[in-house]
Subunit: 404 residues, 2 copies
């Protein structure tokens, strides 16, 4: 598959996170000739936090992870992820697959079964051939190295056209703390809690509850602020693992919180940049709403509108469709106070087209691969920013014939 034109130039150099090792393998769950399983193992005492899809039909691995979070943190922890099959809507067999996989990891690695977290991503409703994964566990265990995070990012891809990674380092009390994360996601992207599959590792020292609070808070401003197609996955999972190996306590540290936010936002943006068929990366920034919730309604109505997204694909400065999306959003809006900007160009204000509107200038702006749509409702101080991509023939091509 052709790499998204919005992809970063290269996968970043991710720092080693002391206390975490990785390995990946080709288990042939569905895809051939590529890796499709990754196993990460974190040192005893690591704090593990997570956020997950709110879907009412969420998968067996998601339910298992949710039950395990916040348990006894004294043992080591493991994360086992496969692509090619989501183990969602697989009934009792799905639960049995999770039990078999987590027990097999525990037997092999001495990680307590209550600390073995799994995720599966791919087709919904097919039984997971977990024996194929179990057959690779010994190799995955033997092959653990600190440096293999990029291979892990590749192993969890489905329709992704590039692996996604991001990192940050923070100095706290003169000592350095490292954060590294990977993600997968391209379609079925409209997170309602967490999104897609995201794994973030840090050597910071922080308790489970404090880490969970940070992750939940940042999630609401990062992964919950992106949408590719308004469809919410049954498998969305984010896990953050803090090994404490740096010995640096970051509890309550604002710099660490900001760095973690940056890594999450970077990964969230990369998911949008790999949106199925995407040719434009679009920031929708809404201000002046009655409150933040209204601003988010407007931003998401714009970001999810097929008519807005196809106009952007066609490089058409069709600001009337922004008006439409504001109108349908359900948020409080006053036509005559609304203003709309494409980049720095004010296209509409005071309930009508801006007096110095230039079709030529606006059309030229629409040719950029990265666009900013600004909407000010003129009512209050509520604001929200979300990120999305356009809707192109590529999206139809991918989804009219891929059983995902």
């Amino acid at each position: 598959m052709k790499i998204s034109p919005l992809a970063p130039a290269q996968f970043p150099d991710l720092p080693v996170i002391a206390g975490v090792t990785f390995a990946s393998a080709a288990a042939g769950v569905k895809y051939q000739n590529r890796t499709d399983v990754m196993l990460a193992i974190a040192a005893p005492g690591s704090a593990v936090a997570g956020v997950f899809t709110r879907s009412a039909t969420r998968s067996a691995p998601v339910l298992d992870c949710q039950a395990k979070l916040g348990g006894d943190p004294s043992g080591a922890a493991a994360i086992l992820v496969n692509s090619g099959n989501s183990n969602a809507f697989t009934g009792k067999m799905g639960v049995a697959s999770v039990t078999a996989l987590t027990q097999a990891v525990a037997d092999l690695t001495a990680v307590p079964v209550g600390r073995v977290f799994t995720a599966s991503t791919g087709v919904i409703g097919e039984p997971l051939p977990h024996d194929r994964i179990i057959a690779k566990l010994a190799d995955l265990h033997k092959g653990q190295t600190e440096a293999a995070i990029k291979d892990a990012a590749r192993a969890i891809m489905t329709t992704d056209t590039f692996p996604k990674g991001a990192s940050a380092s923070v100095t706290v009390g003169g000592k350095t703390v490292q954060i590294a994360g990977i993600a997968k996601g391209s379609g079925m992207i409209a997170p309602d809690m967490a999104t897609m599959l995201v794994y973030i590792f840090t050597d910071a020292l922080i308790g489970q509850k404090a880490l969970q609070a940070l992750v939940s808070r940042h999630n609401d401003q990062t992964f919950n602020c992106i949408t590719v197609d308004s469809d919410t996955s049954t498998s969305d999972s984010l896990l953050a693992v803090a090994t404490g190996a740096s010995g640096v306590d970051v509890t309550g540290n604002a710099d660490f919180a900001a760095a973690l936010h940056g890594v999450m936002l970077d990964l969230a943006h990369q998911v949008v940049r790999d949106g199925e068929g995407a040719s434009k990366f679009v920031t929708v920034a809404v201000t002046g709403a009655a409150d933040d919730a209204d601003a988010r309604k407007v931003a998401m109505a714009i970001a999810n509108s097929p008519l807005v997204k196809t106009a952007i694909a066609g490089q058409d400065a069709n600001w009337g469709r922004i008006v439409m999306a504001v109108g349908k959003s359900g948020a409080q809006a006053d036509r005559d106070r609304l203003s709309i900007r494409f980049g720095d160009i004010t296209v509409a204000e005071n309930g009508w087209r801006a007096p110095d509107y230039s079709e030529a200038a606006t059309s030229a702006y629409m040719k950029n691969p990265e666009l900013v749509i600004g909407v000010d409702l003129g009512l209050g101080s509520g604001s929200s920013t979300v990120w999305t991509c356009d809707l192109t023939h590529g999206y139809i091509d991918i989804n009219a014939d891929y059983r995902s």
Copy 2:
């Protein structure tokens, strides 16, 4: 433009409605070489009811119609509609255009200005060149005939590929009452109150309040149950006109109510059949929900899901995406009670793929141009049926380069 493959074989023979006349003309509002304005005039005493978009950015004509409904019914009534420009988000100039048009009709026809209803459909945010319409009013007035309803249906089209009409006749107390309706609509279809432009005429005798109650009730089960692209228009308007010329009082008559419902449903289905780029007409029938509202949430989540709609376009029996849509809908759902049918084929039940699922049989079914997706939530007696179409390359083609 190629006519939708889902179009009816021909425009129906609509009955003459005693007390209503029509004419259409080419005013050159935007389109060239076609009619783009229609004027209908109804006899004095006609009851006029209507439902309109709930959009917060609804157009000047919508606001004017809403203000006029329920006024003094003693005079004649007029409906003036143009295509090519929606007069939405046109600020004070938009209001001035409505005033100019309604006053010009009143001056020419002796219809009280408070009974002149207008609608405009097409591009948002451009000033309406209302002088071009006013220049045609004398011709439109002189040309009024009872039989010209089909030409009126053509004049109000925008991206529609065929004109839409439907009719019914009902016998009440041994006498016949006629109903005839026309509609336009193809994209920006996700009604939240009424939808698109719909005009229904009857010679029945019925008061304004009784007619309004009927129209509002039926609207909720017809036009409010269709979606093409989840985008709600700024111009959606439905007007129903009862001239009373038959002398048959239908107040409280169940047969008349059913016939009116049938005409509205027929027109609603025709809008879906002309959905931009549509190749499949899809009925989504949800049963077993906790309540009707939950059933509707699930039905609309399925009908609006880009992943479901692209799978249908690809004739892919991808029922996993139905599971996804149920999960994201926000309705109460229990994975293990859910069952899914494509036509008569049960594809999933008891939280997993049906035991006798046949990929070949299901794939064969997906090749039909008309599909029924049945979902039973297994929780209660709530139900909802909605209608939609698939999402194809045609939708992208139309909307990536049409400034509508």
